[in-house]
Amino acid sequence: GERPVTAQEEDDELPDAIDDREIFDISVFLNLAHLIRSINDPEHPLTLEELNVVEQMRVKVNDAESTVAVEFTPTIPHCSMATLIGLSIKVKLLRSLPERFKLDVHITPGTHASEHAVNKQLADKERVAAALENSHLLEVVNQCLSARS
């Protein structure tokens, strides 16, 4: 469900720290309908949360030290979309987090056949940048980030 707004959050003066839930809410808000279409029920595309790709317990944030770590779980161990899903999450967070944060997106250990290779790709700044130069890849990633389905 949606995060309820607390009285503290409505108070103009009190600061709210960036926490796990906030980052989880950001990364879950991806639209993968076109990537994993018609797996089960095309009329009701599942969200990342329902697919258990991103779970709140696998999101770690430290506001004071400015670090964010997100583990994601590909839908099946051989999921060919793992890199794309990871890339989409990474780009989404890059665009949504203050610059001070150091960001780490990787596969939940033991859940994907080529886990190491994918993690390495995602950690490499230059390869991420290069991937986004590719207009086809950028198109797919942007579709994931787009609010309209």
Binding site: I18, N40, S146
Partner: protein
């Protein structure tokens, strides 16, 4: 020539030297003049003159190429003559076919030739048909190579007429097909600023009409379509599929036979592989059309049934996919089968007699709920198709023979722990139930049991779905539902379970109440459920629990739902009104009187919250009464309130009298019941002339609830009161009371409330006094004390209130009242804003934004340019209330009128970005929302600002408030997508 003072022949003679000049240019000029004259007065010509002119022009066709355009113009004029003698049309066309090489002419002249043909085809059909296939051939040669979209539209129309009007095509069918099909699929993008306004879609449709106009094209067209379905271009695919669908409307077995296997394999490939839902939908539509076409054909005894073999091949290719509910192809296969089966009853039988048993078997084989859900959803799809034909009583009816297993599968889904599976089961149950005669009486009882269990289930999703299903099925089987479901729910409602924690019990009761309301979709059931609900209301009132108020509100909500469901039925509506209204009054009146004596007893019933919940019940029970019945009811209810006449209430012996309109503190609680009176009289289809007491009450009462209700009630009556002296007197009285109280004293707010409601009532019916009252309101905007309330009051004036003064309760509402209010008052608001002191400026702006937000979009868009400068200026105002209300006014405008807003993009971007660092959280949030809304402006306008906005929005990403960060994330993400591929 036009006046008849000259004849055309005289003109020709006068032009003689010119027409015979040896310089082709001079001849051209002469003929051009003559043609122009003819175009203007072709209707005045004599038969004889036409004959001569035609011969002259035919002759001129052999002339120099400079002359030809004018010659053609002349012929076009002549082709419109009604007096053209027989045979001339043919000779003109022959001459054109022979002498003119059409495709070497300019676009305009080619167009002229097409017009000549169109004119002749319109007026000389018989003659042209006499030409036989030569005409067709001549035309084919003529249009071969045409490139201009304008001419193509005309040419396609000619071909369509050729075919539709049965011109002889002779041996030229293939040529005619070639000369048109070479344009398929249309690939045309209109140039920017195209003055002719021809869209790609126009060409596609007109070519499709040609190609799909005759079965004679089938042998050429189908291979072409199959080839183009393979194309990489999605538009070509879609066009081919849509053309195929159109063709199926006129084709028969004969045309399709040869191509069925390849058509099927193309369609299958597309559905299995495509990522585009559009392509998939078109494929399914085409398959549906094919199947329908084959089903339509009449079978002779010795031919093979093509439908049969076609469906068999589909079944063969799809059935094994149905057995793998985890795999990707299961849904595409199911959809293909459903599309084919949905085309005809015969197709449906053939498909389902294989598929249904298969699905039922698969359901038992797969124990996991997610797999079962997929299988059941497919099954549901087939059952829904059956609904289209109803249940046909035939020996071969597959569904009937499978009744037992279908029921057991659906029931097992209903008892599954997975909510998702339950939901599908409930949908399947609804479909089965609506097939009359499918469920046996014992099955039905089981169905009802399941629905009761699920309706009271803790999961809100399945509970809601079960209630909805019960509501849908109840009208089919009213006896079963009123005999089984209602008593069970009643029992549940009355049972006092000690062991349950009070919260659980409460929500169980709540669901019982909702279920009772949901199932009341048939009059006979309403007659069972309403007494149960009222009984329960009495019980709650007597109880002394803490949750009393909430309990009563939920009963009222259920009663309201029942009222809405039985409004359309006269009998049910009158029953409901007669039962519920007196009962509610009989409970409320003694409660109000008792309270004056013993303040503790039955107090909950007259709390504002409960009374407010009763208002919609009484209102809904009243709005659909016929005028006679309403009058009957008025004669009971009105004396009750005016004279304390309680005799019509059940149990009417009360210790003291009911006098809600008397002065004095001890009547305070009685006065609250004015809310019920309001609900009743304001919903009546007729007007009640009696207002003075209400007026007094609304001005004098200190309790805001009572005063507001009385004001609303008064407004509701004034709105319906017929115009005339009586109304004027009442209104004068009202104004006299309002004005002094508004000036000063403790009752200013009450006076303002009354003023607002009366203004609203008059505004709606275009009463002349309304403008005077509105001016008064505008003046009050500068009042330091009342100003903010007046500004909010503009919302009341523009919006539709839920309980009174709307169309549903028969109020007199003119449709354009908002526009009218806008045109007369917005200039005054703007003027007031400019003249106002800094502390009240915000009031004007707030009022303005209420008016703008309620205005229909088209009106707003035309008026926006004049207002925008004011709004932009207001953004620079330092007052945060002004900032906030301006931002909230601008945000919807950005979404609705992007074209106009984009003229000010520079100012908007700058202001919004600077407001994102406002010290007030609410302003920051509103500014970020506006920055987000900016992205709906045309991308080209925004791109120059993209980098700057993205940079500026990085700062609020680190805002100290989470709610601000949330908006920043959304806005920034959207700006990133601007102008990127895949957006």
């Amino acid at each position: 020539v036009k006046d008849g003072s000259w004849t055309v022949l005289q003109l020709v003679e006068a032009l003689g030297s010119c027409l015979e000049n040896t310089d082709p240019r001079m001849r051209g000029r002469g003929i051009q003049l003559l043609s122009h004259v003819l175009l203007q007065c072709y209707s005045l010509l004599q038969e004889k003159e036409v004959l001569h002119l035609v011969l002259f022009y035919e002759n001129r066709l052999q002339d120099h190429h400079l002359v030809i355009p004018s010659v053609l113009q002349g012929l076009r004029a002549l082709s419109m003559c009604e007096v053209l003698s027989p045979g001339l049309a043919v000779s003109v066309l022959k001459a054109i076919f022979q002498e003119v090489h059409v495709q070497s002419l300019l676009q305009l002249d080619r167009h002229t030739v097409y017009s000549i043909i169109t004119n002749f085809m319109g007026s000389r059909e018989e003659e042209l048909k006499g030409l036989g296939a030569d005409f067709t051939f001549g035309f084919i040669q003529m249009m071969d190579g045409e490139k201009d979209p304008r001419n193509l539209l005309v040419a396609f129309q000619i071909v369509r007429d050729l075919i539709a009007k049965n011109y002889a095509l002779g041996p030229f069918v293939e040529e005619l097909f070639e000369v048109t099909s070479c344009y398929f699929p249309i690939d045309f993008t209109p140039p920017p600023n195209d003055p002719h306004g021809i869209q790609r879609e126009d060409l596609i449709l007109s070519l499709r009409a040609v190609l799909a106009s005759t079965p004679q094209f089938a042998e050429f067209l189908l291979p072409l379509l199959i080839e183009k379905m393979d194309s990489d271009l999605q538009s070509a695919k879609l066009d081919s599929l849509q053309t195929l669908t159109t063709c199926c409307a006129i084709y028969g077995q004969k045309e399709l036979q040869e191509f069925l296997p390849s058509l099927w394999s193309s369609l299958r490939r597309e559905v299995f592989q495509t990522a585009s839902e559009k392509v998939e939908a078109e494929c399914l539509a085409a398959l549906h059309a094919l199947s329908a076409c084959l089903s339509r054909s009449v079978l002779s005894s010795d031919t093979e049934d093509l439908l049969n073999s076609f469906l068999s091949s589909i079944l063969q290719d799809c059935r094994h996919h149905l057995c793998e509910p985890d795999m990707k192809l299961v849904w595409p296969s199911a959809k293909l089968l459903q599309a084919a089966a949905g085309a005809s009853l015969r197709a449906y039988h053939q498909v389902t007699c294989t598929v249904l048993p298969l699905l039922l078997e698969q359901y038992t084989k797969h124990p996991q709920s997610s797999q079962r859900r997929t299988i059941l959803e497919m099954l549901l799809g087939f059952l829904e198709l059956q609904q289209k034909w109803g249940l046909v009583e035939e020996d071969e009816n597959t569904l009937l023979s499978l009744r037992a297993s279908v029921c057991s599968v659906v029931f097992s889904a209903l008892t599954d722990p997975s909510v998702q599976l339950q939901l599908v089961g409930i949908r399947a149950l609804t479909v089965l139930g609506s097939l009359q005669g499918f469920l046996s009486p014992s099955d039905l009882e089981l169905v009802v049991d399941h629905l009761i269990r699920l309706a009271l289930h803790e999961d809100s999703q399945s509970s809601e779905a079960a209630m909805e299903a019960a509501g849908t099925l109840a009208p089919f089987y009213p006896k079963v539902f009123s005999g089984h479901m209602v008593p069970r729910l009643e029992e549940e409602l009355q049972s006092e379970r000690e062991e349950d924690s009070s919260h659980d019990h409460c929500s169980l009761r709540q669901r019982c109440l909702q279920a009772l309301a949901a199932v009341s979709t048939h009059t006979s059931i309403v007659k069972e459920t309403v007494p149960v609900l009222l009984q329960h209301l009495r019980k709650v009132q007597k109880g002394s629990e803490a949750g009393n108020t909430q309990g009563m509100v939920s009963v009222c909500q259920s009663l309201h739902r029942v009222a809405l469901q039985c409004q359309q039925d006269d009998d049910g509506c009158w029953y409901y009104h007669q039962t519920v209204v007196p009962c509610l009054l009989a409970m409320a009146v003694p409660a109000a009187m008792q309270e004056s004596a013993h303040p503790l007893l039955g107090k909950a019933l007259i709390e504002e919250e409960v009374l407010a919940a009763m208002v919609p019940v009484i209102s809904a029970a009243t709005t659909h009464l016929s005028p006679e019945l309403a009058a009957q009811s008025v004669s009971h209810v009105v004396p009750l309130f005016l004279d304390g006449e309680v005799s019509f209430l059940p149990q009417n012996s009360f210790p003291c009298s009911f006098q809600p309109f008397e002065d004095g503190e001890c009547f305070d609680t009685q006065r609250r019941l004015i809310a019920l009176l309001m609900a009743f009289v304001c919903s009546l289809p007729c007007s009640v002339s009696w207002c003075r007491e209400l007026l007094a009450l609304s001005c004098s009462c200190l309790c805001p609830f009572t005063a507001t209700t009385a004001a609303k009630c008064f407004a509701g009556l004034v709105n319906k009161h017929p115009a005339g002296q009586q109304l004027d007197e009442i209104l004068q009285l009202a104004v006299n009371r309002i004005e002094p109280s508004l000036g000063e004293g403790p009752r200013r707010m009450q006076a303002l409330t009354l003023l607002l409601w009366v203004t609203k009532a008059l505004l709606l019916r275009y009463h002349p006094l309304s403008s005077h009252l509105t001016d008064k309101l505008l003046g009050l905007l500068s009042d330091v004390e009342l100003g903010p309330a007046v500004a909010d009051g503009f919302l009341l004036l523009m919006a539709e209130p839920p309980d009174v003064l709307h169309k549903g309760c028969h109020a007199d509402v003119r449709i354009m009242f908002r526009q009218r209010f806008f045109t007369t008052n917005v200039p005054k608001l703007v003027q007031g804003f400019h003249g106002a002191g800094p502390d009240v400026k915000a009031n004007y702006l707030k009022g303005l934004s209420h008016v703008l937000n309620h205005l229909p979009k088209p009106v707003l868009v035309t008026e926006l340019p004049t207002l925008l400068s004011l709004l932009l200026e207001a953004l620079s105002c330092t007052d945060r209330v002004v900032q906030l209300s301006t931002l909230s006014c601008l945000q919807p405008l950005l979404l609705e009128a992007p074209q106009i807003m984009s003229l000010h993009v520079d100012t908007l971007v700058t202001k919004f970005l600077s407001l994102t660092s406002s010290p007030t959280m609410a302003v920051r949030i509103a500014a970020l929302r506006c920055a987000h809304a900016l992205t709906s402006l045309p991308t080209a306008v925004l791109l120059p600002y993209k980098a700057r906005v993205i940079r500026a929005l990085a700062k609020p990403l680190d805002d100290k408030k989470r709610l601000v960060r949330k908006e920043a994330v959304a806005a920034r993400g959207e700006w990133f997508l601007l102008g990127s591929p895949g957006r």
